[in-house]
Symmetry: C2
Subunit: 330 residues, 2 copies
């Protein structure tokens, strides 16, 4: 149990000895604290200050979200760790060679892993438009190599993403009105699901970044600006297709989602909301995915640990100059 999700309405998490105790109605679960890597506290659940103190003392990343997955904030045991690393991280902002090399790696990883998904989905079906899109995405990777500034690297990322999201609907059993990516707010069920699972992924990467001590505000592909976790956004690019899109596509193609799982919000811009059952299903699948073992540099480790290892690769690049290479699904 690497991440503990507190999402059942009325659940209370406390501490008893070396365990977290989660009670909900008449059911009590006991989880050894040592097995908990991070905690997500959703709206409508409670956590005792004893548990908060324990989480802070053990430096277990803890995030507070609304029941819909909107980010409120997190517990911070200290803002003052790995300061020397942060100083180096800030200095690299002005190193164009470093920035473009890292940004290219992120974008290349993102496109290659998106291609992995597309090729898998199209293996049997052989849809010509998909095959054509795949070819174009490979061409974008070809042009990426010669880019030497962030603007054009971001351009490649944008073109590849547009191509990818225009092909994806052709490969779905049910499109739920989906014809491409949109957000703020998401305008159809599939975009709502993508936004929700990207939030889960973002906070998993955020947790990995927190562990290294890097400042989440300072990214290299994403410009820093207020209220943007630029570094988790950089690092999650290569994982979006593998850990987020793949989960949603599987749910759809296995007919585990239908129209009844969604409802319209009552705000003026009417986002499409996801009911509790489906949210729980998505969280379970997402967690299962992150717990899956994979071969990484000769060792079998979980995908969740891959997130952390990649964050540590960036630390190494900052400290020693050993270039960052993205994680590519084989």
């Amino acid at each position: 149990m690497p991440a503990l999700y507190l999402m059942e309405l009325g659940a209370i998490m406390g501490v008893e000895g070396e365990c977290f105790k989660v009670s909900c109605r008449d059911v009590t679960s006991t989880i050894p604290i040592i097995k908990v890597d991070s905690v997500l506290v959703f709206g409508g659940t409670q956590i005792t200050t004893h548990a908060i103190a324990e989480l802070l003392e053990r430096d277990i990343p803890t995030t507070f979200l609304s029941s819909n997955g909107r980010y409120y904030g997190r517990l911070a045991s200290t803002d003052t760790k790995a300061v020397e690393l942060k100083v180096e991280q800030y200095k690299k902002l002005e190193d164009n060679g470093f920035r473009t090399s890292f940004a290219k790696a992120c974008v290349k990883g993102k496109i290659l892993n998106s291609l992995y998904i597309l090729k898998n989905l199209n293996r049997e079906r052989k849809i010509p438009e998909v095959a054509e899109g795949i070819k174009r995405m490979y061409a974008i990777i070809g042009t990426l190599e010669e880019k030497d500034n962030l603007e054009s690297i971001r351009g490649c990322e944008g073109s590849a993403a547009a191509m990818y999201f225009s092909i994806i609907p052709l490969l779905l059993k049910n499109r739920f009105g989906f014809s491409g990516r949109n957000r703020r707010p998401p305008k159809d069920p599939l975009n709502s699901l993508l936004s929700f699972i990207y939030t889960l992924l973002m906070y998993s990467v955020y947790t990995a970044v927190s562990i290294t001590g890097l400042d989440p505000a300072i990214g290299y592909l994403h410009e820093y600006t207020d209220n943007r976790p630029a570094l988790p956004l950089d690092l999650m690019e290569e994982f979006r297709a593998l850990f987020a899109d793949q989960v949603i596509i599987d749910l759809i193609n296995h007919s585990m989602i239908d129209e009844d799982d969604f409802y319209e919000g009552d705000t003026e811009d009417k986002p499409v909301l996801i009911n509790t059952d489906l949210r729980r299903k998505v969280v379970e699948r997402f967690e299962k995915r992150l717990s899956t073992q994979v071969l990484y540099k000769g060792d079998n480790i979980s995908y969740r640990r891959v997130l952390e290892m990649q964050a540590r690769s960036l630390v190494r690049y900052i400290r020693t100059g050993e270039p960052y290479t993205p994680f590519i699904q084989q």
Copy 2:
């Protein structure tokens, strides 16, 4: 009520409409959220996740402490605000002129405000050793002006502090075994009190720093190192005597403290601990002090607001080069 202290054993803080509701046994207090500037949650008290969400949404600095005032951590709504300012703050680490000018201001403020306390206490009593010490501390300020490196500025700070703490016992009604400053752990009742109230002051300054968006890890007088809130430590220097020492000295000289208020810890290094009654008394006096109005650049504001204004002065120095001047009690 600028800071809300949740320290009564068994107290629970929740939200009702636009108010925080603090219940303890049969008593419930209602405090408009808009009136709360910061919250300190001590061990043995509870806070609902609804209240946590509210604190995060409104960006109200919230600190978790043990019942003895040991720091556990805090709520962080976002680590990614005022990023541009942080980038400038990091750059200034390499600007020796900036660093020494700011560090000198902090130390000068500290010594002048310490002198204010000493002179007040010695006005009627006219103890020759105290008068002599005051003279020497003025001499240190004289030498401070010509220092051009951090090491020697820190030297001045150390000499003045040693002198100050060697004189203070002469001005106390009861020395409680106090013969100078010590800590980690504090070895006598008075040192325990100083450590406790410095913690309160530190988190008040930390809060002021958080509001500006500056990174608490990056100070200029104090070198950055892991787990050291270097910037709050820099900024609190000029306030130690006024807001912390003064409160403790008043309590002693008004015979509001006696030996029974302390007990020995059961750890090997045996720190001296403070009982709940006295802790509460110190917190009340400290809060009263911070709520006191003072003339600051032509306006009457509370001392707590002075902390924030001084943090903002540092922001101005970083951004515009307008030199930082310490707050000096007149």
